[in-house]
């Protein structure tokens, strides 16, 4: 009964690993390719664009960890304070929605929202006398667009994981705190937050494991000729070099570099998480 599944995994996951040997070859129009060892990697590591792309990836991932990661935690803490179940349900239904939309849709929504002529953001800005900004074609603002759109998409839904952890906290702890006359903030600080620290740690470590990804699906929909220098990441570089320029071997080498470092990061974060909190990636 497992045969179809095993065949699937073999074809879609293991054959590509074999195909990745292209990273060590010179690709010729008429096969066979020639084995060139690490030459493609040497070329990659000596190209300035590669370092710019790597830097962009690290900066965007770093910004997301700093500014996106804490938001769902705060949302969950706030949601937990809403005692009216119906009101909380309505809020939850609204803020979970963007998680289920594609990045094409989300980028479309943000392009409209940030339009310099009739987008809501610039209209407010203008009314307050700040003039207009074209956030999408400005290399100084485009990374913030990635951060804000990521918050828009995931802050609500990701809060669910923390909320589940909060609900799992023993109610007796809250009762004891109330007996001692603890205020709302004291209860949050001394009961709720310690209770969800393991979840926060696990998710933080998992995020670190994804550090080299920076989300291709998001970036590719926000990228244009003007802002590309600020948000060209490893994945978009691989895509462009491989499928637009036709530098297959170089692109595969870059992809393999990302895959290997990414694997080390994920496995390390899994092991760290397992040791610290008992919870791993799988």
């Amino acid at each position: 009964m497992m045969a179809p599944g095993l065949l699937f995994f073999f074809i879609w996951h293991y054959v590509p690993i074999w195909e990745a040997k292209m990273a060590f070859e010179q690709v010729r129009i008429i096969p066979p390719n020639i084995w060139v060892g690490l030459k493609n990697f040497q070329q990659l590591f000596s190209s300035p664009i590669f370092y710019q792309v790597l830097a962009n990836t690290l900066i965007i991932s770093g910004m997301k960890i700093l500014f996106v990661f804490p938001v769902p935690i705060m949302v969950a803490l706030l949601l937990n304070e809403v005692r009216n179940g119906k009101l909380r349900g309505v809020i939850q239904s609204a803020i979970y929605l963007p998680h289920f939309l594609s990045w094409v849709v989300i980028a479309g929504v943000f392009i409209a929202l940030l339009s310099p002529t009739d987008g809501a953001v610039n209209q407010v800005q203008q009314a307050m006398g700040f003039g207009t900004t074209n956030y999408l074609t400005n290399t100084g603002t485009i990374r913030w667009v990635l951060v804000i759109s990521e918050i828009w998409r995931s802050a609500g839904w990701d809060s669910l994981l923390y909320l589940a952890a909060i609900f799992a906290i023993d109610p007796a702890l809250y009762e004891a705190a109330e007996m001692d006359g603890a205020s709302r903030w004291q209860k949050i600080w001394h009961v709720t937050i310690p209770g969800i620290i393991p979840t926060i740690a696990t998710l933080f470590i998992l995020n670190m494991g994804m550090f080299l990804s920076a989300d291709l699906n998001q970036v590719i929909n926000f990228q244009n000729d003007v802002n590309a220098s600020a948000i060209d990441i490893l994945d978009t570089y691989v895509y462009r070099m491989g499928l637009s320029t036709g530098e297959y071997a170089l692109a595969t080498a870059a992809g393999l570099f990302k895959a290997v470092i990414g694997m080390i990061l994920v496995v390390t974060s899994h092991l760290v998480s397992k040791r610290l909190t008992g919870k791993g990636v799988w």
Binding site: E19, L97, I111, D118, A120, A164, A165, Y248
Partner: protein, 299 residues
Amino acid sequence: MASQSRRTPLERVEYVLIVSTLLLLVVFTLQPLLNLLALSFTDPSKVAGFSGLSIIPDGFSIDVWALLLQHPNVQRGLFNSIWMTATSVCIGVFGTALMAWGMSRPGLPGRRLIFILVLVTIVFEPGIIPDYFLMKRLGLLNTPWSVIMYKAISAWYLIILIRFFEEIPKELLEAAELDGANPFQTFWMVVLPLAKPALATIALFYLVLHWNEFFRSMIYLNDQTKWPLQVVLRQFVIEGDKIAIVGANNANNNIGLAQINIRALKAGMIFITILPILAIYPLILKFFTKGTMSGALKG
């Protein structure tokens, strides 16, 4: 509530602040969407002056929706998206269920090795170029099957189902065997009915995943007539290819779709694309929320 009576004025102010912050988040989430929805129903003559802040249509017209839904590219995109998603979901659910069932059996030879081999696929992804060449080698490039078959079984959902199957009481399976059921009958008549809620959850996961898929379709499908809706939307809204929807003839002569403000057309396209998600959103809330909550609780 007992604690309500003990609330001090300060606590009430705090509560109002907390709820207001959350309502602000609700506005931040929904306003951009409602604005586009209102824009798509606004009277075409008033679209040009329509404010990005408004969430109520200025005048009312279904011209944008009618014209878009009659457009061959949009119809084709919808058709492609629907059948490709449906096929992917069927393959995904059955493939995942079969494999998960096999892997949840304690007696399976090499169980641990297979598990590790599945985990490897989560942590190591050689990238899009090897995938692309694999499709080329299989002759699937520029066929919808390249998108449908690509990773049709998700390692993550597989693990979720394995965990679920492992918890099915042994007595039930033994009873079926005593009744003379072969393994396939046991799976079909005992396991699958028991797993209905889990399978529904997985089906929804796959549905959302495949409906929102655009990247693979974009790189594997050259032929525009094979594009799913997301790629049609991307070409129009992200890449700003106006002619793709408006049509060169219309644009040149300023007739048909060219007479409608491009903003309204884009807003309409975005909403046509998310309509199926909105339609099943109550189901999504029910199953996704439960799935995520129980997963998190079990740890």
